[in-house]
């Protein structure tokens, strides 16, 4: 009986992986692009289950809004704006077979190398032991000795900001550049000024009223996920993408003219700049304090270290706040939410307006 109990997660893991393979096959083969998007959403659902069973709840929280919610929504908008069906004519059969063979060989070699690097043989896959670095991270995340620890019980968020903050910083700048690129493409475009009319725009009254009830709840749940990032699964990224679902709901269920009542693109850009400034501040605040009181301190430093003895308090009145982690999570929440809000608003500009502007530009 206990054998069966310990076997169950592995059975679910294997079944969902096989089901996701079927969904991937259908998504690639399907010619109707809307159906392909839906198949890829099914695949994402199974992947979320796999992530959960591999014991990474942080990823589940960020993956479900991204891959099941936002990406299919955007892809469906894009398909509606462009071609509905894929034209597969003109692909030579020999080419596709050669590509398939070479891809298969490449992937099998890469996959086998991954196993070898990880566990020597398939007999002990996955291995019984964790890596040395993982053990060090796990042992020091909440040691209750400020000189060696990040003082956060959540190892993942501690690594994202405390141990590998520089990586996160540059990855945030990649996202910043992507949004700047989208803004640059749409530089002459703006959402047309039009009055929102309840009776003609958007979906039916049931959808509208329930969205009205549910929107503040989604936002507050996103805030909760973001602000408790240093205690429970979650953090700024997860909260930001969960909150971005609200923006897409506003645009889909009501219309973009209703969404612009809440924020214009310029206000969203402003709030996003505030978020990015908060990230920079949380990276440098300890160094600034050290500079002001004349002690050695580093950027990306949170808790005091042996050679730099200052740091932010890790608790206030018995509540763990883990130094700069709270500030970082709040700013990241704002930056991610507003970044996706900008992209959604840009994507929902009506096609006639865009074509008008582009025609002038091409000629």
């Amino acid at each position: 009986m206990s054998d069966l109990y310990s076997l169950t997660p592995y059975v679910v893991l294997a079944v969902s992986a096989l089901a996701s393979t079927i969904a991937v096959y259908l998504a690639i083969i399907e010619r109707d692009l809307i159906k392909a998007v839906l198949y890829s959403a099914i695949q994402s659902t199974f992947y979320a289950l796999i992530f959960y069973l591999l014991m990474v709840p942080d990823i589940v929280l960020v993956y479900i809004p991204v891959a099941v919610g936002l990406l299919p929504a955007i892809l469906i908008i894009a398909v509606k704006k462009t071609e509905k069906y894929e034209d597969v004519g003109g692909v030579p059969r020999t080419t596709s077979i050669i590509v398939l063979l070479s891809v298969t060989v490449f992937t099998l070699i890469a996959g086998y190398l991954l196993v070898v690097s990880h566990a020597i043989t398939f007999d002990v896959f996955p291995s019984l032991d964790a890596r040395l670095l993982a053990k060090w991270f796990l042992a020091t995340t909440l040691w209750w000795n400020r000189l060696f620890s990040s003082m956060s019980p959540e190892a993942v968020t501690a690594i994202v900001w405390d141990y590998r903050g520089l990586d996160t910083y540059f990855e945030t700048s990649v996202m910043y550049l992507a949004i700047i690129g989208a803004l640059a493409i749409a530089r002459y475009l703006d959402i047309p000024r039009k009055e929102y009319r309840e009776d003609v725009m958007g979906m039916s009254i049931i959808g509208k009223m329930s969205t009205r009830v549910i929107m503040p709840m989604i936002i507050i749940v996103a805030i909760s996920i973001a602000l408790h990032g240093h205690l429970t699964p979650g953090g700024g990224f997860q909260g930001g993408v969960t909150g971005a679902v609200t923006v897409s709901l506003l645009i889909f269920i009501f219309s973009v003219y209703f969404a612009t009542r809440f924020f214009k693109i310029s206000i969203a850009i402003l709030l996003r700049i505030i978020g990015l400034a908060g990230i920079v501040l949380s990276a440098t605040i300890v160094a600034i304090i050290g500079f002001l009181i004349g002690q050695p301190a580093y950027i990306f430093q949170n808790q005091p270290k042996i050679i730099a003895q200052i740091g932010l308090p890790y608790e206030i009145g018995g509540n763990l706040i883990s130094g700069t982690l709270l500030l970082f999570n709040t700013s990241e929440f704002l930056a991610v939410l507003m970044g996706f809000a900008i992209l959604f608003l840009l994507l929902s500009i009506p096609e006639e307006n865009v074509l008008e502007v582009i025609k002038g530009e091409v000629e």
Partner: protein
Amino acid sequence: MSRIIRAIPVAILTFIVYIVFTGSATHFDIVTGVIGAVIVGIVFGSVVITNTYKFLQLQRYFWGLAYALYYFFIAEVRAHYDVIKRILNPKMPINPGIVKIPIDVASDYSILAVANSITNTPGTVTVYVHPNKKYLYINWIDVVTREPEEARKAISYVFEKFAKKVFD
């Protein structure tokens, strides 16, 4: 001013959701929850709430509780039993069709409550709301009558009575 008055009920509601979702009520949770709830209330207050003073009338809460008890323990159980019986019956006795029922409530939230209750009970799905908000079109798994008033008695009369007491 009306913006702030409207923000208060939304802030209280979202604060409750925050505390329930977080699952703890330390000082940290309460402070962050109040800040977040106030921000959300100010942003969304004007779209969610139309009449704040309905929130002050206590009898609405008792009627809401009665609605919930009736809905969960009588309406849902009866509808589930009925449709499960139809599915498991080898002959599958279904007689589907779209009927039209009149609805006589004032606020949009009442329409939402009635329509969602109808859809959430298996056997009936709201297909369309008439633009003048006086009729609902229901897909019914077993059409016993096509007369609007009789269909109303069979499907939505009790929901409507409760929803009027709670939301209107």
